[in-house]
């Protein structure tokens, strides 16, 4: 299912980006979501799939749609501001999707950063964040450095531990550039994600060393054991430390009733997920004119590009560069999807009276 390399798998169906977005909008409209918010769902899911995060793209239409149908998530955005000061806002999403509440929160951080230089929004009671890069990029597109974090359901033990306690905490940082595309780091804090374990399992291959634990906390290279087990933080104890501190910035700071291992997976349909998110926007004008800042970012990008590549490396990229290129091609030429996914989407659409075509 992964396609982050941008290759079109054999037998894939090319779906126009506009079609994927339109179908997503029609699905969520049919499930009771107002048009503008359904547009945000369509935009996010299409962005994620086009950028190579296939597992956060079209398949989520079915999962999120099912959350609405079971009452686990709300189609109506009743996100409310709980408290605010000049540079910060706390929002309660009241089970609205992160694709909607997260955009509202980042917009507020961007607006306040425009007034005061740097601002934070924290959201509680929302859903899995999808592509964090989408939110960070909202800030970069408005001339600001943006950061977005969430607390994921428990997928890793603490360092040295044996029981799942903490999420692999996806986060993203984006910066505007001048001549170049925005620089966008979009990552999770685990060495490998669930979708990759699935891929190894499907191919019948063993995992590399050091990326997974079995259910008892012992290292494993068996993807089936890994799927029943736990993830390993990237960079060992450093990644673990970051995961703990991201939990402080999200679940702890949001005041959510549930945090840490009480956050549930998006595929658990009998209750809200209770995800928390943290957004930061920084205006470069806190220290210099905007034009000067983006010139400086451009020179950093140029320096990275002119780095002599290691043996076997074609060229040195900045974060987000390759996925932005993949996305551009896909927005123009269509997004490759396995026929089984298209059939599942069409099947789900049929159940709720939304034709795929």
């Amino acid at each position: 299912m992964s396609d982050s390399a941008g290759a079109t798998p054999q037998g894939a169906i090319l779906v126009a980006a506009s079609h994927l977005k339109d179908f997503t909008v029609r699905v969520f409209r049919a499930l009771g979501m107002p048009e503008g918010d359904a547009g945000l769902m369509g935009d996010h899911i299409t962005w994620a799939h086009a950028h190579g995060h296939a597992w956060l793209g079209a398949p989520k239409i079915i999962q999120y749609g099912t959350r609405i149908r079971t009452g686990a998530s709300s189609p109506i955005d009743r996100t409310a501001v709980v408290s605010e000061t000049g540079a910060f806002t706390l929002l309660d999403a009241r089970d609205a999707f992160s694709q909607i509440a997260g955009v509202r929160a980042m917009e507020l951080a961007i607006r306040k950063a425009g007034e005061i230089g740097a601002a934070v929004s924290v959201v509680r009671n929302t859903t899995s964040a999808g592509s964090l890069g989408y939110f960070a990029l909202l800030a970069a597109e408005r001339g600001m450095i943006g950061m977005a974090n969430n607390n994921a359901p428990a997928l890793m033990p603490p360092w040295g531990g044996t029981t799942k306690l903490i999420g692999n905490q996806a986060f993203a940082v984006a910066s505007p550039a001048g001549r170049h595309d925005p620089v966008l780091l979009d990552m999770a804090l685990s060495e490998m994600t669930l979708v990759r374990y699935h891929e190894y399992e499907e191919r019948g291959e063993q995992l590399p060393e050091g990326v997974a634990l079995d259910a008892t906390g012992r290292p494993t290279t068996d993807p089936t054991e890994a799927l029943a087990g736990m993830m390993v933080p990237m960079g060992g104890h450093r990644g673990y430390g970051l995961a703990v501190m991201w939990e402080v910035l999200t679940g702890v700071l949001s005041g959510s009733l549930r945090f840490l291992d009480e956050v549930t997976m998006p595929g658990v349909f009998d209750r809200p997920q209770a995800v928390s998110m943290f957004f930061l926007a920084i205006s470069p004008e806190m220290s210099m004119p905007y034009e000067e800042f983006v010139d400086r970012v451009d020179s950093l990008v140029d320096r990275v590009h002119s780095s002599p590549p290691a043996p076997g490396v074609e060229r040195v990229y900045v974060p987000g560069e390759r996925s932005a290129r993949v996305a551009r091609d896909r927005m123009r030429d269509g997004i490759p999807m396995p026929p089984s996914l298209v059939a599942d989407l069409a099947g789900f659409g049929a159940e709720i009276g939304v034709p795929w075509e």
Binding site: T85, G117, L249, S287, P308
Partner: protein
């Protein structure tokens, strides 16, 4: 290590050695107090590399011209939530501490305060800056760039520092939660120790001078081309941290930053520090209880075999602190002799 005799000193004794010497070297009183306090804190946390020994570095760098001791710390630009500080080649600990102090003041009113610093000397241990925020009841974040030590991911020539960063949160029943890390897979101290003991490096730690990965610690130290923690992810982090420090601070960045060994050259380091006031979000008591609950849940996780117990980030340093507060900090006797001689040079009475 065990061969070198040590003397146990109290916090007050460490400070009584540091402060007058820093004043005699030429630091103004407030800056000397900040520097001495940070040295005490680092000594207490088992990080003597950031402790009393740095007095010689301050002396040598200021005499050679790399470090400026007379800095006007008025911010260059300010809003009610942010500030830009020019450290004018001043000592990094003073720059970082003052920057976090400003961020905390801003956060009291605005909820969040962010400060960028340009033209700083080396920043020493990053954990101290979030600690400044933690002491004010806030969550603190501090990021720095450094002399280039890492190639960008996939490259072979150094471009980025090892980009140390630290995050801290206050607690009620536990020691403050302070995470302090570099963005490289291995820090320099571990690398030197591996070289000294003839140990092989684990995979993914360093390149040799031909740009190939190496497990030879001596060759890695010679080449000084570190690899990022977590591979391409840490490589990406190092670039974004450069944007928030060297790029955003508006002066020197990447290869323009100079290492502390070059005594007569200013370092040109940048910092980004941020304070977030949890009282803007929820009651302070509730926040502390939540952080404590996070720590308790980590502590109650069953350890894997070979691990005595599961710790939170920074806990081993906090362990030193509780022991050293009670029994004093072991300071090498030869270091104290050198400090005593320095006091003599300045005509100061030896305070111990």
């Amino acid at each position: 290590m065990g061969m070198n005799p040590t003397v146990r000193l109290s916090r007050e004794q460490i400070r009584s050695v540091a402060f007058p010497l820093l004043r005699a070297i030429g630091m103004p009183p407030e800056d000397a107090a900040i520097t001495a306090d940070a040295m005490v804190w680092n000594e207490l946390r088992g990080a003597p590399g950031h402790g009393l020994g740095r007095i010689f570095q301050i002396l040598e760098r200021s005499r050679a011209g790399g470090l400026n001791l007379a800095v006007d710390w008025t911010p260059l630009r300010e809003t009610s939530g942010t500030a830009l500080l020019d450290a004018c080649d001043g000592w990094g600990v003073v720059a970082g501490t003052r920057a976090m102090g400003i961020a905390v003041d801003k956060a009291r009113d605005a909820g969040v305060g962010a400060v960028v610093v340009r033209n700083s000397d080396v920043t020493s241990a990053m954990g101290y800056y979030p600690y400044v925020a933690v002491m004010a009841g806030m969550v603190g974040l501090a990021i720095t760039n450094s002399v280039p030590l890492m190639p960008p991911w996939g490259g072979t020539e150094v471009l980025l520092g090892n980009q140390a960063f630290a995050i801290g949160a206050p607690t009620r029943d536990h020691p403050p939660l302070i995470f302090d890390s570099s963005s490289s897979a291995y820090n320099m101290g571990k690398m030197r120790s591996a070289a000294a003991h003839g140990e092989k490096l684990p995979p993914g730690v360093a390149l040799d001078d031909t740009g190939e990965e190496t497990d030879d610690a001596a060759a890695a130290l010679e080449a000084l081309r570190l690899l990022p923690m977590g591979g391409h992810r840490g490589g990406g982090l190092a670039i974004m941290w450069e944007v928030l420090t060297g790029i955003l601070a508006g002066r020197r960045s990447t290869t323009e930053v100079v290492g502390m060994q070059e005594l007569d050259r200013t370092a040109g380091v940048s910092l980004y520090v941020q304070a977030v006031d949890p009282k803007a979000f929820l009651s302070y008591e509730e926040f502390l209880a939540r952080v404590d609950r996070l720590i308790d849940q980590i502590h109650s996780n069953p350890p894997r075999s070979g691990v005595d117990r599961v710790r939170v980030p920074g806990e081993s340093k906090a362990g030193f602190e509780s022991e050293y507060r009670a029994r004093g900090v072991p300071v090498p006797a030869d270091l104290l002799e050198r400090l005593r001689a320095l006091c003599g040079d300045f005509g100061l009475a030896w305070p111990l």
